[in-house]
Amino acid sequence: MPGMKANVYVTLKKGVLDPQGKAVKSALNSLGFKEVMDLRVGKFIEITIDGAGKREAKKRLEEMCRNILTNPVIEDFRVEIEE
């Protein structure tokens, strides 16, 4: 079952505070990585789907994102299908 591989990136919308990102940033800073100025933590989801065409697959994946994988009040998403 080869299927089609897709990567979904979920990020917090601009303006939504990310306390986790802040904590990770200050941890990096205190470890000597002083160059880190800003950091935000998101989610990465790998999906293998049994799809016909790439275009249809992308449409379905975006539907998944809107329905359950993200909360549109606070999150944005980006879908990539691997070649």
Binding site: V16, L17, P19, Q20, A23, I68, L69, N71, V73, I74
Partner: protein, 234 residues
Amino acid sequence: MKFGIIVFPGSNCDHDCYHVVKHVMGQDAGYVWHKSTSLRGFDCVILPGGFSYGDYLRTGAIARFSPVMREVARFAKKGGLVMGICNGFQILCEAGLLPGVLMRNKGLKFICEHIHVRVESASTPFTSSFRQGEVITIPIAHADGKYFAAPDTLKTLEDDGRIVFRYSTADGSVSEDANPNGSAANIAGIINEKKNVLGMMPHPERASERELGGTDGRRVFESVLMSFGILENV
């Protein structure tokens, strides 16, 4: 009257709610498994606290697709009383029955302690036994309780008197110091437009008996009974 307590895989305050409704308030109560497709016979539905589906993906994100949630939406639309406590509040937000979302606490830690909230609206079926502006003591127990909503949503909630509870100091000052989790506008509980769907992070069922350190939470249940004419004004 009969309370229905929804049980999701991972709910863990369901028995506490059942106990309070049945043994403290003396009402009829029943559990409703999340796969159920009927809420017939219930007058008030409670979505209890816990970690439905392990809080995977986002709190409440998977539970909102449980079959029973379609019935909860229908029940709410008909005017039935729905109360979401803690994880129940998170599920109601994910389901779109209440606006906004509950995010990871500002301090990233799970907080379990008694706090103070100010009753911002005593004109709901869930709060009519309180005085407007009254400060009550009630426990919270959550890692994801930071209420967030877009500025226009917050304004609507404010303008329409739909913020029901706010974190405050013991003397009722709504300050940043009194905000345990970084919630927008110190929000601890809100209600829908029709005022029959309440979501709150604090646990009224854990503050319903003197043996557990306080009875302020019991008055949420008493308010519901009052709205059904079972209790006289207390």
